[in-house]
């Protein structure tokens, strides 16, 4: 009995120590473990030129331009987090989810002209999942414009049943 007690206390003590160490390590890494930086971060503290980093945010509505330079496609768009925005240029294949209002993470370097030259563009998916009929119903009713940003609060639509006549019309 006492030996079991003792083993339990030793185990709890080890867990406490290890947990504390992990927590301290994670707090120390808090700022370094970011996968991408937001436009606000960039304007607040401009990264050194010719240094590759990831820029993440929403594709601003109306900023998407598909052009071509010397026969190669070039996409221009603006990444925003509401407070700040950074123009991005990218020549390559965009993922399926890429659209205005979508979250993206781009890898590249900030040019001297302030345009972010991306070598890779990844789309971020948010945590909402809905059938096309529900999305259509939200768009038609003016509750949501996907180009402007994320979907409204889930409670508004997660039990929504778009009536058959509605989807037929």
């Amino acid at each position: 009995m006492t030996r079991k007690r003792k083993r339990l206390y030793v185990l709890l003590l080890c867990a406490l120590g290890l947990g504390g160490a992990t927590a301290l390590t994670l707090t120390a890494f808090q700022d370094n473990l970011v996968f991408f930086r937001s436009p606000s971060d960039i304007t607040r503290e401009a990264p050194p030129p010719e240094r590759a980093f990831r820029l993440g945010g929403l594709v601003e509505q109306g900023s998407l331009q598909r052009t071509s330079v010397e026969g190669r496609p070039l996409v221009r768009f603006t990444v925003t987090d509401g407070a700040a925005k950074v123009p991005v240029a990218f020549g390559g294949v965009l993922p399926d989810l890429f659209r205005e209002g979508q979250g993206v993470v781009t890898l590249g370097k900030l040019g001297r002209d302030g345009v972010f030259q991306a070598s890779e563009v990844l789309a971020r998916h948010d945590e909402t999942y809905m059938p096309p009929e529900v999305a259509d119903a939200l768009k038609r009713s003016g509750h949501w414009n996907p180009a402007q940003g994320p979907a409204p609060a889930a409670a508004e639509w997660n039990t929504l049943n778009p009536a058959r006549p509605g989807s037929g019309g």
Binding site: L8, L18, F35, F36, G56, D126, Y129, T159
Partner: protein, 267 residues
């Protein structure tokens, strides 16, 4: 009186250790068919519902169906690891022989579901994100979880003395449990490419009910199947250990007369 039962005491005390596993065998033998049947039944409803009859997502299209495998596998990878940590703590503190066996038999199954989680996630990531893999906090911490499962499975089996292996494995499992909150909260603590959890609150899930309900049914079905597979493996392990104990006892019995007869027949 005192000298005669002394050799017989050894097998008796080791049999006493298996008194509890014996009850486990009887009980689990009765539960297992029902558990397996329930898993088949629930998956038989959930998988067709999710993979065929549920609606597509408005922007992911049919690719959203990977969710019905990926999310249950992710939950099982983490829930199973929590189970492994509990079993390891019980094995270390209370020296419960079944806890050792459960931990030993849990880890290959846990490694398999974690691998499925990573693979399905990768298959989803390529068309949706535009990449098979990124080193963000969520994906990396789940990869660490996968290596913990594999490491536990290998470490437990790496010692000649199974008890020593079980103790080492239990320590590894408990140290690795620190990774669980990191996996869970990685999407909240740091910005990641992986989306945050959709099911944070019961009353406001980020999934439409037409997608949510088949997901929950699939998760229940896979959990039942996971439990059935693990239970089956633990039963097999208990029986294996019994056979080994019987063989050892038989070998001891066979050795004894040879030692008792001093130079009977020199071979």
């Amino acid at each position: 009186m005192n000298t005669a039962p002394a050799p017989a005491l050894r097998p008796a005390s080791s049999l006493h250790r298996f008194a509890n596993p014996g009850r486990f065998l009887r009980l689990s033998g009765r539960v297992l068919p029902w558990l397996a049947a329930a898993a088949l039944l629930v998956l038989g409803v959930g998988l067709p519902w999710g993979l065929w009859f549920s609606p597509p997502d408005w922007q992911q299209g049919e690719t959203v169906r990977i969710l019905y495998i990926h999310v249950p596998m992710a939950w099982l990878a983490m829930g199973g690891y929590a189970g492994l940590a509990v079993a390891s703590a019980m094995a270390l503190v209370w020296k419960h022989p079944l806890a050792d066996l459960a931990a030993r038999e849990l880890s290959p199954v846990g490694a398999a579901v974690t691998a499925l989680c990573l693979m399905t996630g990768s298959l989803w990531g390529k068309p949706m994100w535009g990449t098979w893999w990124v080193w963000d906090a969520r994906l990396t911490s789940v990869l660490v979880l996968f290596f913990l499962w594999l490491g536990h499975a290998a470490l437990v089996r790496a010692f000649d003395d199974p008890e020593r292996g079980a103790r080492m494995g239990a320590i590894l499992a408990l140290v690795g449990a620190m990774n669980l909150p990191v996996v869970k909260f990685s999407v909240d603590w740091w910005n990641t490419l992986h989306q945050p959890a959709s099911l944070t609150r019961v009353n406001a899930p980020g999934l439409h009910v037409d997608i949510l309900y088949p997901l929950l049914v699939c998760a229940l079905g896979f959990s039942l199947a996971f439990a059935a597979v693990v239970l089956f493996r633990v039963r097999a392990a208990v029986m294996e250990r019994r056979i080994r104990a019987l063989q050892m006892a038989a070998a001891r019995r066979a050795d004894m007369p040879a030692e008792a007869q001093p130079a009977g027949e020199p071979n």
